[in-house]
């Protein structure tokens, strides 16, 4: 009886616990939406910070991904920026600037532990082929991109980068592709960027171009011919990728397409090249080498643009069919076959026959296959951006400060006179630079002075004074 009572009590406790669990407010977690909570300390691969140079001299060694040849600042730089106009030293570095989350399930944010924030878009189908077919079967995969500003350095080490104006402190979602119909639909996308039809006009040439580009980059080159992604074409700028190799590669293809479109729309700026020493510039063409792509979930692997996944990914071992000996002998049989020739030729090489094509397919089938990694469901990466900066040494502002400090010993009257002269000069400079802003500031000054006079006469100096300052600031902000 006592046992029964104990059992009943335990059952009661269990039921209460179960009810309490079920009564917990439902999290937005949805079936199939998986992920991991973003954690900069664990997610970031700090080796990718490497490649810091000041005036061309290396301060921190470049990681194995290499340093793009175009990532060069002017050694001695001059930047115009109002009173901060001046000379400085050119600095190049890398910053973990963004989170790029790729999701098969619309609205699913992998980097927030798998939470779905757009349940109304669930019917958008990814059509990711790997779930249904064997590898290397062509199919189209549609992935959703969630791009977030994650300015880790701005929060953690502001003093390190603020002199470069490289900190925004932003921590927010910048773009979600679900509500973007153009990104979902190839036809509308190609209408937006009709240059995509150039590739459709010469499909063979496009394919060969992209093959050559991939080889060059995998071998350590820095080739970007503007039309390729990892295993497909870069155009149209939609979320669709041909699913040939692995989810890993399709996700990179979609990332490149997304960023190329972002460059066209002006939301991704060009950050490499000597002309970007002072600030990033708009360019309709995305330079994919300005980013290092570092997967953080489900695993930590890093790559740069168009390196074959064999070089940076993970592998699964085939059951013996990938014998290099047989591959060598099979490849030798194709030595006299031209990959570009059609019809007969006098050059000694022949156009590929049906059996040649069969043999080529067999060789490809026997190559070791990359693992489908990251998973089908979701994955996110940290995107490191190449940055440049003119580390200011001498600005108009600090030059004036130095002069005033030196003159401080020369008597109050003279300083007052110099200060007045400086104010006049500064006013003229502002009017020339920004006439509307100067006019609004002038109006603001007038209101300020008027209110302060009233305040002094009525004895409400403090209250009206702050109102006056508020008005002045508001008028000033309208200008700028």
């Amino acid at each position: 009886m006592r046992i029964l009572k104990t059992f009943r009590n335990l059952l009661g406790i269990a039921l209460v616990a179960l009810t309490a669990t079920m009564a917990t407010p439902a999290s937005a977690s949805t079936v199939g939406c998986v992920g991991k909570m973003w954690n900069p300390l664990a997610d970031l691969d700090f080796r990718l910070m490497g490649g810091i140079k000041a005036m061309g001299f290396t301060i921190l060694k470049t990681p194995s991904l290499g340093e793009p040849p175009n990532h060069q600042a002017q050694n001695i730089c001059f930047c115009k920026n109002g009173m901060q106009t001046g000379f400085g030293l050119g600095l190049t570095f890398w910053m973990p600037s963004y989170i790029n989350d790729l999701a098969r399930q619309p609205g699913c944010l992998g980097f927030l532990d798998g939470v779905n924030v757009l349940p109304g878009f669930m019917s958008l189908s990814s059509g990711q082929e790997y779930s249904n077919h064997t590898q290397r079967v062509d199919g189209v995969t549609n992935m959703q991109v969630h791009w977030a500003y994650a300015d880790v350095t701005a929060i953690a080490g502001k003093s390190l980068f603020e002199k470069c104006n490289a900190v925004t402190g932003s921590m927010e979602i910048a773009y979600m592709t679900e509500p973007d119909f153009i990104f979902q639909n190839d036809v509308y996308s190609v209408v937006m960027t009709p240059q995509a039809s150039i590739l459709a006009e010469v499909p063979l040439l496009s394919q060969m171009t992209c093959g050559m580009e991939s080889i060059a980059n995998t071998l350590g080159g820095w080739q970007d011919w503007g039309v390729c992604a990892w295993k497909g074409t870069r155009l149209p700028y939609s979320g669709n990728a041909i699913a040939k190799d692995s989810a890993q590669v399709s996700n990179m293809d979609v990332t490149i397409k997304y960023l190329s479109r972002a460059a066209l729309l002006g939301t991704t700026m060009r950050t490499m090249g000597k002309d970007t020493t002072c600030k990033p510039l708009y360019s309709a063409f995305y330079d994919p080498f300005q980013h290092r792509y570092q997967w953080a979930f489900p695993g930590k692997v890093s790559t740069r643009y168009n390196q074959d996944v064999l070089k940076w990914g993970m592998f699964i071992k085939d059951a013996g069919q990938g014998s290099m000996l047989s591959l060598t002998s099979q490849t030798a049989q194709l030595s006299n076959v031209s990959s570009v020739q059609v019809g007969s030729s006098t050059s000694g090489t022949t156009a590929p026959s049906g059996s040649n094509l069969g043999l080529a397919a067999q060789i490809v089938a026997n190559l070791p296959k990359p693992l489908n990694f990251p998973s089908h469901e979701a994955g996110y990466m940290q995107v490191w951006e190449a940055r440049e900066c003119c580390l200011m040494v001498l600005t108009v502002s600090n030059a004036i400060q130095m002069i005033v400090e030196n003159l401080a010993t020369m008597g109050g009257g003279m300083i007052q006179e110099l200060y007045t002269m400086y104010n006049y000069a500064n006013q003229v400079y502002q009017i020339v630079q920004d006439p509307i802003g100067a006019a609004l500031n002038y109006i603001g000054d007038g209101i300020l002075s008027g209110i302060k006079t009233v305040a002094d006469k009525t004895g409400l100096t403090s209250a009206l004074g702050s109102v006056a300052n508020g008005i002045k600031e508001s008028v000033g902000s309208m200008a700028g």
Partner: protein, 320 residues
Amino acid sequence: MKSLTRTRLAVAAMGLGLAVAMAGPAQAKDLGVEGQIFEPIEEDMRVMLMRLIARVDWSESAEALKDSAENYTKNLPGYFLPRAEKTETVWKDVGIVVSQDIYLPWVDWKTGSVFEPQQKLAVEKGTYLNPIAKLPAGAIERLFLFDATDPEQMSFALELMKANIPQLNFMAVAGDVGAMAKELDRPIYHPTPTMLEKFHITSVPTLIGFGRGPQQGHMAITSFKLPSDVATVKRAWFGLPYQGYEPDSLPDVQPDTTTTLQNATDDAVHALAPLVQAPQPQATPAEASPAPSAEDQNTPQPSDGRYITATPNADATLNQ
């Protein structure tokens, strides 16, 4: 005066000597190590950044990210377009005329290197390219744009949604598309910044359709004066009919079904035949400028070089 000349000559001689000295071959020599060497005492920058990151409580940042994601659709910009004043179709040719020869990289496998590719002519200057010229117009999805903050337009959109017309998608130029999508359990899209301008959407509600026959490869942008109905939207599927254009009686173009090896080889011959010209200055694909097509010569062309064929003649405009 004489001394000045002498000084000038001396300076010139020194300058010349210096130039000769500097022009000489550079001499590099290992001078060995002098004095004691110390290891740098500064902390590795990566370790320093890791230490700084470890000191921060990131839960607030993660919360900020989550908030911005949950409010993402609420914060999208609204585009307030005027209501359509008449029901009419405006046609737009989406093709481009290539303004320069376009080259793509090419490697001669016997002599070349993938690191130094040459250029091959891909598309000749003056070529008209239309990405949807060979697409069956009936197979392309349609997009209905409306202002969700206007009750009359919202109710018209709901009426269309209830009609459950296949291939019809909805885009709200203003209003929270996330909340709407959740309530209606279907995607409601939002325009990208340049889309309205590119597609010449100047009023709402509007349907984006695609033409057949003489209007094949053209986009039909049909605006609807309210009140309107489902039947009118269906009639505007291929653009509103006009004299000489009855889209319902026209067949769709047949999709290209080239599957045999022979056909593929023919395609290869066609594609590779022009690729024999000498390298020329490269023009990137995006330098192709949109321009009106040759086949639209019989329709009125805008004089400012735009590639829209904003053409409906009197018959093409249906006023209600």
